[in-house]
């Protein structure tokens, strides 16, 4: 196990959901109670019920980026809206910081959203009649924060997303990328503990999307938020995620780190996604290192470095490299053969 993962596993759980269902259709709300147990997908279809989310389990830990990935229509948006209770789940249990989210009163929910949650939307969802500044300050306005404080705080987040100088524009005067920056600024202005992003970059052109991803990672390095990030783009998921949950037809088919997903896809469906991903760009040295057995080394490499970044170095050397974790302790060694195994996709020894 990589050191980073170890650290992650020890972090406190922020959001946890168990056995969450969301059904659409006539009498769908009571369907599960009436048919106790777990109805098959076939039975639900017979009853003319759309199963948007089925038996979803999610655990999100503090400071991680948890990505939910799946094709369009697989239930990602529905799941994330259940997690923020924009949609009432048909069944299941959701805990936020240990509190039962589904038992909260409307008032508690409003308080929670005002101070602890933020959300970014696929189509930006900016208020057309407000300027950039007013949009960013909107959550504070709703809370009744005084004008001066609210403008100050909004200016801070606007600078954070790089829109200073445009604060008096209206949304329709901005490009898509800029509009989404406003959406991000708005969701950050209350300094949320948990940050939802529903396909935030999907509506943008590929080049802008890439730029926004970089920017997003930079932002996260600074803010260290806990993030639930939705995407249908597997490359994006791999780039950003600490953990990925892959959804198919409302079901989470696998939850794993990007490396595990690439190296050990649980189903044919997941494998289909990972097939075209160059493994060397995902897999880290710590994952593939074998036990220390050599006496001499060409040098030391960090366990967290990705194979693609150090492949040239390893191949050029005659001797293996020692692999060190964050604390500087040797966790194994790698040589050219391992690299080649990865590159040609030969099965790795577990």
């Amino acid at each position: 196990m990589t050191p980073k993962k170890l650290v992650l596993m020890e972090r406190p759980i922020i959001l946890e959901c168990r056995n969450v269902w969301k059904l659409y259709g006539a009498n769908s709300d009571t369907y599960l109670q009436r048919h106790d147990g777990v109805p098959t997908a076939e039975a639900l279809r017979q009853a003319n019920i759309v199963t948007a989310v089925r038996q979803a389990d999610v655990t999100v830990r503090k400071g991680e980026i948890f990505v939910i990935m799946g094709l369009s229509g697989s239930g990602k948006s529905t799941l994330v809206r259940c997690l923020s209770r924009l949609i009432e789940p048909s069944a299941g249990e959701i805990r936020f910081e240990g509190r039962d989210l589904l038992k909260m009163s409307d008032q508690e929910l409003i308080e929670l959203r005002r101070h602890k949650l933020g959300m970014v939307f696929q189509h930006f969802a900016l208020l057309p009649h407000l300027t950039v500044l007013e949009n960013a300050a909107f959550p504070l306005e709703v809370q009744g924060v005084d004008r001066k404080t609210r403008i100050e705080r909004a200016m801070q987040v606007i600078e954070l997303v790089g829109l200073q100088g445009r604060e008096n524009r209206y949304p329709h005067q901005l490009s898509g990328g800029q509009q989404q920056r406003v959406g991000i600024a708005r969701s950050l202005v209350v300094e949320p503990d948990l940050w939802f992003l529903d396909e935030p970059f999907s509506a943008l052109d590929p080049l802008i999307r890439r730029e926004m991803q970089d920017e997003f990672l930079r932002l996260q390095a600074r803010l260290q938020k806990t993030i639930v990030f939705i995407t249908h783009d597997f490359d994006e998921a791999i780039r950003l995620a600490d953990h990925i949950a892959v959804m198919q037809d409302g079901v989470i088919v696998q939850t794993a780190t990007p490396e595990e997903l690439v190296l050990r896809p649980a189903t044919e469906y997941v494998a289909e996604f990972t097939r075209h991903i160059p493994k060397a760009k995902v897999v880290r040295l710590g994952t593939v290192a074998r036990h220390l057995q050599s006496a001499e080394f060409a040098g030391d490499l960090a366990a967290s470095s990705r194979i693609a970044d150090v492949a040239d170095q390893i191949e050029a050397a005659a001797k293996p490299f020692r692999v060190l974790d964050d604390a500087g302790i040797a966790v194994g060694e790698v040589d050219g053969r391992i690299i080649i195994d990865i590159l040609i996709g030969r099965d790795l020894a577990p």
């Binding site: 949650l117 959300m119 939307f121 189509h123 809370q143 008096n168």
Partner: protein, 662 residues
């Protein structure tokens, strides 16, 4: 499938043949058998619903009470709400303020002069739409001033200025209620449907009865008339707000109230402003018509001119209405399409400096008007009149083109109008009842058939059968002609960019004109009668026929057209085999709207002497017979509702068979 269609065709032919046979032979049949009830619905079987309604309204007005709270208090409350702002505005702009009444009144403030009013509208127009809009608006007001229509126009404008905010506020309020509460929506829907089809005069009758002759009645009628679209548009606008924006509001921690006022309504504002534009135009239309129950203003000028056949004055006042309508329409459209552009910077005073400057000018204009009387009342010697000119034009036409016009008129009457009229009037009412069930049932299922039967029975038992037949005949002929003119024009506009630009401008302008205006040229040229009514109805109803055909043709998927071109269609084949079939559902919707437009205009043509249901309403209006007015109004509404359902059912049937054919 084929067989079913064949059967359908046979049924139509059979029904038509029987109907013609009965229609032609009914007179002879009556003579032969002596059964007069065959041709005329027996008086003894009439339900006298109108008398019952009149009595009910009378009771409501005079005796209805809940404890110490009387129904009359409601009407008084409404009167007061409407009257107070009306009185203030009218004094400010038209009469001037005074202490005391009548002869002993001591004037304390003269009416606002014309200069600050024109200036105010000019500046507003400039800010909303730049120099072009300002020029249009100033020119329109200058026309009113130069042609001595200022006083009347200001009375009309004051009515509009009072009715619009009240109508908008009421509409938005009900629209929100319908959006939030499902039962309100369900309760409102039949009312809104009915209101859209009840002819305008029919509103006037009970309101006249409840509020008496005068501006209050006119304003109340105007508000009720203009509100339904606002309700609908508000509800639809709120429903159309993107769910993401609503979710964004919720995630920001909005309470339900904040969500409505800070998120949903502002996000729906473009649509709401479209509603405001509609309210303004409907209000103007109704304020003109309501001159019949005491609204005064430009409508009254036209009405008196029409009655006196004063050609010049009628045309002038008519143009006054047209210019006022165009100015108000363009202004409110500019308001509606205006997105926020300038960021709000600077202090409150600074941001509103134009307004303060304007206020200063208004204040200064009072002493100035004392010094220069021409500013208070535009001097009569500077006023123009083209009245003589118009009278000359019309009399020239009547002298020199009399034969030609008369020839056309007679030909249309003899070969189209009269035969259709005789045919429809000849149908025995009993067979009419049968048809009113069979035809809707065949097109839209037995429920629709029952509805048709109930409506027809209502008309027959109210003793309005002949009037309803005349309504059907005038409406039917006008709609056919409007479609024959409108659809080809629409197709042209759908294919040709330049034709589209020109036609759009023309129909946009036609549509802003209050219905009343259409009567002026018609009466001048063709005098009164069915032919005049038909021309007015066609002019008014051709607008949707053109618009929908153009929209339909332009909306045809360009890939399908390209596929047609690639497979070698000639331009003619392209239209007949590809574009028209694709555009057909939209064109049928246009037919639906054409019928609705035709009916609403037809009722107004009662003023030029038709003998249809509209005339019944008009007579009821002049006699303040509320029951009769309501019954005849409902009869028109039922015809409108039925044709709406029938065309919709036909569109549906078409699109489903279309799919199964593919």
């Amino acid at each position: 499938m084929k067989r079913l269609r064949l059967n359908g065709l046979m049924l139509w032919i059979g029904l038509f043949a029987i109907t013609i046979g009965l229609s032609v032979s009914s007179k002879a049949l009556v003579q032969l058998t002596g059964w007069t009830w065959l041709a005329k619905y027996p008086q003894g079987l009439q339900l006298n619903l109108d008398r019952f309604l009149s009595a009910a309204l009378k009771w409501l007005l005079e005796d209805a009470a809940l404890g110490s709270f009387q129904f009359r208090d409601i009407t008084r409350l409404i009167s007061a709400t409407v009257e107070a702002p009306y009185a203030v505005l009218r004094d400010l702009i038209v009469n001037g303020f005074a202490i005391g009444q009548g002869q002993t009144a001591i004037p304390i403030l003269q009416p606002m002069g014309w200069l600050p009013i024109i200036l105010g509208f000019g500046v507003l127009a400039y800010r909303l739409g730049g120099p072009k809009l300002a020029a249009i608006v100033v020119a329109s007001f200058a026309y009113l001033l130069l042609f001595g229509l200022w006083q009347s126009a200001m009375v009309t404008l004051v009515s509009v200025a009072v009715a619009v905010p009240l109508g908008v506020a009421g509409g938005v309020f009900l629209g929100i209620a319908a959006f939030k509460l499902r039962w309100v929506e369900l309760a409102l829907r039949p009312f809104l449907d009915l209101m859209q089809t009840v002819p305008v005069f029919a509103y006037l009758v009970p309101i006249l009865f409840l509020f008496g002759f005068g501006p209050t009645s006119a304003l109340v009628a105007t508000m009720i008339y203009a509100m339904p679209p606002m309700v609908r548009i508000t509800t639809r606008g709120l429903q159309a707000v993107s769910p993401e924006i609503v979710e964004a509001g919720k995630m920001a921690g909005c309470t339900p109230r904040q969500l409505l006022w800070k998120v949903q309504l502002p996000a729906a504002r473009t649509m709401v402003m479209v509603g405001v534009n509609q309210v303004i135009m409907l209000t103007l239309n109704m304020v003109i018509i309501a001159s019949m129950i005491g609204a005064g203003g430009l409508g009254y000028d036209v009405l008196t001119a029409l009655r006196k056949l004063d050609v010049g004055r009628g045309v002038e006042a008519g143009f006054g209405i047209v210019f006022l309508a165009i100015a108000l329409d363009r202004l409110s459209q500019a308001l509606a399409t205006q997105g926020p552009t300038e960021p709000a910077v600077g202090s409150w005073m600074r941001r509103n400096r134009t307004f303060f400057a304007y206020l200063a000018i208004v204040v200064a204009s009072y002493p100035l008007a004392k010094l220069i009387p021409a500013l208070a009342a535009f001097p009569a010697e500077l006023q123009l009149s083209t009245g003589g000119f118009w009278a000359a034009v019309v009399s020239w036409i009547n002298v020199n083109l009399y034969d030609q016009i008369e020839a056309v008129k007679v030909a249309v009457l003899v070969y189209v109008l009269v035969p259709v009229k005789v045919f429809l009037l000849g149908i025995p009412w009993a067979w009419g009842l049968v048809l009113s069930f069979v035809i809707p049932a065949w097109i839209g299922g037995w429920r629709l058939g029952v509805m048709g039967l109930v409506f027809a029975a209502f008309i027959a038992t109210s003793g309005l059968w002949p009037q309803a037949m005349i309504t059907l005949y005038l409406c039917g002929v006008s709609v056919v002609i409007a479609m024959l003119i409108g659809v080809p024009l629409g197709i042209l506009a759908g294919q040709n960019e330049r034709a589209h630009t020109v036609l759009t401008w023309v129909i946009d302008t036609l549509q802003t004109l209050p219905t009343f205006v259409y009567l002026i040229p018609v009466v001048m040229l063709f005098r009164v009668g069915d032919f005049s009514a038909m021309i007015a109805v066609v002019m008014y109803a051709v607008v949707p026929a053109i618009r929908y055909a153009a929209v339909g043709i332009r909306g045809v998927d360009s890939q399908i057209v390209e596929a047609g071109i690639v497979s070698g269609c000639t331009p003619r084949q392209l239209i007949w085999k590809i574009k028209l079939p694709q555009a057909m559902p939209t064109i049928l919707l246009g037919l639906n709207q054409t019928i609705m437009f035709a009916l609403s205009m037809l009722v107004i043509t009662a003023l030029v002497g038709t003998r249809d249901l509209g005339q019944e309403v008009y007579i009821a209006l002049t006699k303040a017979n509320a029951g009769k007015g309501i019954v005849a109004g409902l009869a028109v509404a039922f015809i409108a509702i039925m044709s709406d359902r029938l065309t919709n059912a036909a569109v549906k049937g078409r699109s489903t068979t279309g799919v199964s054919d593919v």
